[in-house]
């Protein structure tokens, strides 16, 4: 059988997204120490909402969209339909995110709606690009199915978010305001981010740690857990039906547990003698996922409750699981894309540096220590509602964010043309 040769897009397309995402992460870190008082109170606060959208849209969503432009050709073995559409998408989403964050922070709702519309345009462009890329796909893998589920979740989350913005101007949605807010947040976290993370990790973690891919049973538990659990959680929250929410949370937790059991078996079966900092971030992200799922189930079943636990849950999920996982992924993806752009044309003709030569291990180590410990401290301080402790933990997280950003800039500087560095080989 002659197979179609899927081609990778220009590395500058995903790198553009990832650079914007890293900047958003650094800006969120810079804002944290100034939000100590707000984070010690109720989560429905304009500045906390602005911080949340900086993370969920500016950091997490833009990073995943960018990474998908590298991963889709590899995972689905198909070329991206239009790179130009991808560039316009980045412009629309970046402007929209800046608008949303700014308008939420000053509680200007008409501006928020226009900004949300801009984000919706960007998301639509991405979904159209992905749908046309997937057109005629013959072989559907677990990863492909999870990506489709995730993009469907992104569309629904974006539409839901825009609806919440319009609701501030003209009341039209039925039900309780906080129920809608919780449903929107869980649709984003469980309907958009979780399927993409589970799907992509099933494909790339075995490549990273040199271990086998997940078996059919693990895949089935994850797929069914999300397919049944996510709608149940979201609808249960919207309808204020605690039994449905709890049942959905347990189904999602089962999917998460299957993923975590597979990750542990992957680590045990790894043929890699030493883990780099990127892999350590991915492992730490998985550990935070376990804690986040436990707190989520506790909230859904009524074992825990109240705005402090809800905020702690958000810190563990967004700051711990998702952020650490994305940092780990980026520390794998960005060096490869930069290497490909700067050195692949020379490979085979001249000695070229390896990926490790592009990285700044000291900065990555600082980022790992500060982000893993800082987020744990921040979650504990938020749970206690202690403003001074929140500020102290926030400074640690900030150092981690800046160290990560410095590491990314250090990798990106290889894109600037300079004389080739030959790897050192010492004859005896």
């Amino acid at each position: 059988m002659n197979a179609r040769a899927a081609r990778a897009p220009s590395p500058m397309l995903p790198l553009g997204f990832l650079a914007v995402a890293a900047l958003a992460f650094a800006l969120a870190g810079l804002a944290l120490p100034w939000l100590g008082d707000a984070l010690s109170g109720h989560y429905y606060h304009p500045r906390i909402l602005a911080l949340t959208h900086t993370l969920t849209l500016g950091w997490i969503t833009i990073a995943i969209l960018g990474a998908s432009y590298q991963l889709i050709p590899i995972v689905l073995e198909r070329p991206v339909w239009s790179e130009r559409l991808g560039r316009w998408e980045l412009v629309a989403i970046t402007l929209g995110v800046v608008g949303i964050v700014g308008h939420v922070a000053i509680a200007s709702w008409s501006g928020l709606v226009w900004s949300a519309a801009l984000v919706a345009v960007g998301v639509t462009l991405h979904v159209v690009n992905t749908a046309l890329t997937l057109r005629g796909l013959e072989r559907w893998s677990f990863t492909a199915a999870m990506l489709v589920m995730g993009f469907a979740g992104l569309v629904l989350t974006t539409a839901f978010g825009a609806g919440l913005g319009v609701e501030h101007l003209r009341t039209f949605l039925p039900g309780d305001f906080f129920a809608r807010l919780h449903a929107h947040m869980h649709l984003a976290l469980l309907g958009w981010v979780l399927p993409v993370v589970l799907g992509v990790s099933a494909h790339v973690y075995p490549l990273f740690v040199l271990a086998p891919r997940p078996g059919r049973r693990v895949i089935a538990v994850q797929a069914w857990g999300l397919a049944l659990g996510v709608p149940a959680v979201v609808i249960g929250l919207l309808l204020a039906a605690p039994v449905l929410t709890a049942a959905g949370a347990l189904a999602v937790a089962t999917a998460v547990a299957a993923h975590l059991v597979w990750v542990v078996s992957l680590l045990r079966g790894s043929r890699r003698p030493a883990f780099d900092w990127a892999l350590r971030f991915l492992v730490a992200g998985a550990a935070y996922l376990a804690v986040t799922a436990a707190v989520g189930v506790a909230l859904a079943t009524g074992a825990a409750g109240g705005p402090r636990w809800a905020l702690t849950y958000g810190v563990l999920g967004l700051g711990g699981w998702v952020s650490l996982t994305i940092v780990g992924m980026m520390l794998k993806i960005v060096p490869f894309l930069v290497w490909y752009r700067a050195y692949a044309p020379l490979a085979g003709r001249l000695p070229v540096p390896g990926l490790a030569d592009l990285r700044w291990p000291v900065m990555e180590a600082v980022a790992f220590v500060c982000l893993t410990a800082g987020v744990a401290g921040l979650a504990a301080a938020v749970a206690a509602g202690h403003a001074a402790a929140i500020r102290a933990a926030s400074v640690v997280v900030l150092v981690g964010c800046l160290a990560f950003a410095a590491g990314v800039v250090s990798i990106l500087h290889h894109l600037v043309p300079c004389p080739m560095r030959r790897p050192a080989v010492r004859p005896s």
């Binding site: 899927a6 780099d276 000695p351 291990p361 005896s428």
Partner: protein
């Protein structure tokens, strides 16, 4: 108390005698490369090793020190005409001498007649790409290289196009990707 016999798996295999071809290479003609610290730091030593191999003269050997047995390298370097001799000094200290010999492994199955072969399965990106592009530089016009991969190398194709190689990809069995790359006759 009766002493239990040591499990067979924990006994180190008896080292093979040093091949005559390797023993004939004087110490001054052996290039040493120690990648143990680099691997423990989580770095990828593949490019460094391949650069050292590329710099070897015909009468030189590479003595590689690694914290584990670098088995994937055997196949990669065998395709380039290198035989190897392995010494296990400790559980985390392996010394492997690569030298030009006649013991290169057989080519993977179903390689077209007249085609050279390179198996890059199990290597982390961009090591397969580097290995393929290095090998292609030695390809004469009209000659073909068959690459055995565990995935479609989407980032390799533009490099092949840019360098003027023709290529076709198929999947002779699930999970086994075969790319046949040919340098056209000018």
């Amino acid at each position: 108390m009766r002493r239990r016999p040591e499990p067979a798996a924990s006994r180190a295999p008896a080292p093979a005698p040093k091949p005559a071809a390797l023993a004939a290479i004087p110490e001054a003609r052996r290039v040493s490369l120690d990648v143990r610290d680099a691997i423990r730091r989580g770095e990828e030593p593949f490019a460094t090793i391949m650069a050292a191999v590329a710099g070897l003269r015909d009468d030189e050997a590479l003595v590689l020190r690694a914290p584990f047995e670098p088995a994937p390298l055997y196949r990669v370097l065998a395709r380039r005409g290198f035989a190897h001799w392995t010494e296990r000094r400790a559980d985390d200290d392996w010394s492997v001498s690569f030298y030009r010999g006649a013991s290169a492994e057989s080519a993977p199955p179903r390689t077209p007649a007249g085609s050279d072969a390179l198996d890059v399965r199990g290597l982390e990106p961009p090591e397969p790409m580097v290995a393929v592009l290095e090998r292609l530089e030695t390809l004469a016009p009209g000659q073909a290289l068959t690459v055995v991969h565990d995935r479609r190398p989407t980032f390799l194709y533009p490099q092949l196009d840019a360098r003027g190689f023709t290529h076709r990809t198929d999947e002779p069995e699930p999970g086994l990707i075969r790319i046949i790359i040919e340098r056209p006759v000018p």
